[in-house]
Amino acid sequence: MATGRGIVVAVAFALLGVGGRACAGPVDDLLQQFQAQGASHFTVAAGEALWERSVTDPKTGEVRRCALCHTTDLRKVGKHATTGKAIEPMAPSVNPKRLADKEKIEKWLERNCKWTLGRVCTPQEKGDALTMIGSR
């Protein structure tokens, strides 16, 4: 009987596991991908530090950081630094469209890392940023 119950539990876990993987969001996929590329554990704190990091653009002398366009409070509407166009909030808690599309996330990480930091982000930085944004 006990063995029988054990099998049922095991089967249930197996099903949950399969279901869990099928339902894993684009962020989970990406975080696994970044770890496969050499990143370690991701933290909200590291993402916050990256978000506030200021980098001076050598060509223009502008001081750039994520928060410049997206604001420090990710639940607020941001503003494109050059064009002034409104940017919908980054926080999934107020804007469910965020972090929902893998290709979109990858595209904007590449574009915005280049503009803000002057280079592409490392897998560790991208994972920390997504972890922080996802917590908002």
């Binding site: 050059t82 064009t83 002034g84 574009r111």
Partner: protein, 181 residues
């Protein structure tokens, strides 16, 4: 205070009337639309409209669009890189609907103000458009809005969503405009 201004729009309308009058005097004329194309291409709206207004393709010649779309990894200092297939699709759309293929009055004026083979990378570098907007871009302009750049036409051209840049309904500061005149 936002109000209706008749100045520039009135002049443009007067010019239009002369053109119409020309027809009866057998002066060459053309049936030009007053409106420019409002872009509808979904990839263009999504990729370009994410950061700035998706400008009408009829505001720049095809050669300009090719030049802008050919260097998206440095799009005025910013990476606007998209997949090669998306880039091709958007370029084709912009080129097919560019100012040199358009028949509306504004596109003709834009092309007329450019010298042969001139391919400005910005709409505001088109002499016709630069001239019309000189007042609001002048450092001594003290009205509102006081734009740093002209990326959102709809701030002043309140009927831009229907492709209407000539409407007399545009929104600038009344006092300052009168002072300017």
């Amino acid at each position: 205070m936002r109000t209706r201004i008749h100045g520039i729009a009135g002049l443009t309308l007067a010019a239009g009337a002369v053109c119409l009058g020309g027809a009866t005097l057998s002066v060459p004329t053309y049936a030009a639309s007053a409106r420019v194309l409002v872009p509808t291409d979904s990839a263009y709206l999504k990729e370009c409209g994410a950061c700035h207004m998706a400008f009408s393709p009829e505001l720049l010649p095809a050669s300009s669009w090719r030049a802008v779309m050919g260097r998206l990894d440095d799009h005025f200092g910013e990476s606007a890189k998209v997949d090669a297939s998306v880039q091709r699709g958007i370029t084709d759309y912009l080129v097919a609907n560019a100012a040199d293929r358009a028949t509306n009055e504004q596109s003709r004026a834009i092309m007329g103000s450019l010298s042969t083979n001139e391919s400005p990378l910005r709409i505001t570098q088109v002499p016709y458009i630069a001239g019309l907007h000189a007042a609001v871009l002048d450092p001594i302009w003290n009205g509102t809005p006081r734009p740093k750049t002209l990326t959102e036409c709809g701030v002043c051209h309140i009927k831009v969503q229907s492709g209407d840049y000539k409407s007399k309904d545009f929104s600038v500061n009344d006092e300052a405009f009168r002072w300017k005149k």
